[in-house]
């Protein structure tokens, strides 16, 4: 899993690519944890390039959500593809994650947090 990382002041956008599944969940979780351990507590997880996700991938998102919450931070999701969004909604995770279709709106929401 390749992570593309960009920064806008204190907000860090992490773009995940292709799949987030059991076989790459641990490495992805580790990379995201390192990012939060470095003091990045306002994260946008860009899912626009993720075309397949399973429950192991959902577990990574939840783990990061809990980590940043412990640090009084916040994580939001950006532009999930329709099928990925359907899985997020099926498992009711849209009740804990704010989901944005526009990057600027996501950034503004975290800057206002």
């Amino acid at each position: 899993m390749k992570l593309n990382i960009s920064r806008h002041q204190q907000v860090v956008t992490v773009q995940l690519t292709e799949t987030l599944v059991m076989s790459n969940a641990d490495t992805t979780r580790l990379a995201l944890t390192e990012l939060t351990d470095q003091g990045n507590h306002f994260l946008i997880i860009d899912l626009s390039l993720v075309n397949f996700l399973d429950s192991s991938g959902l577990a990574v998102l939840i783990a990061i959500y809990k980590q940043v919450n412990r640090q009084q931070g916040q994580v939001v999701l950006l532009q999930p593809q329709n099928n990925v969004r359907a899985l997020i909604e099926l498992t009711r995770l849209h009740q804990i994650f704010d989901i944005y279709e526009d990057p600027q709106s996501a950034i503004h929401s975290l800057q206002a947090a």
């Binding site: 799949t19 076989s23 397949f52 959902l58 809990k66 359907a86």
Partner: protein
Amino acid sequence: MSPRAKDTVANNATTFDISDHTADMACRWLTAQCDDHAIDNQVAFQITVCLAEAINNILQHSGLDNNPIHLQCSLDSQQIIIDISHTAARYQTSSHTSIDLLKESGRGSEIMRLWTDQIHYRHLDGVNHLRLLRHYKR
């Protein structure tokens, strides 16, 4: 480890053996099957997620060792049937219909239940069989 795969077609069904101990190859295989049969993208995604969850459950809970997981996919104009069989230990899947939103595990069975029309488990002659059935309209 180099994955070993066997892909054969017989009696309107396609079979596939995976031994790479991930669901990745199996999911790519099923996606290709769905593409070949012009299955709706949404249905293909959903049944492929269910296959991933089923295989992940086997890998996590059954101690598969080096035995392959055997897959068979049958498609017609109204339904897709995926038969998964393996000789690893039997396991009990979660039957929870509602879990803590912040719990990191336990969603696989719920996803399979919600995105298939039938799930059937059977243990016969030392082999565990799981059938996932999903109806669809072309």
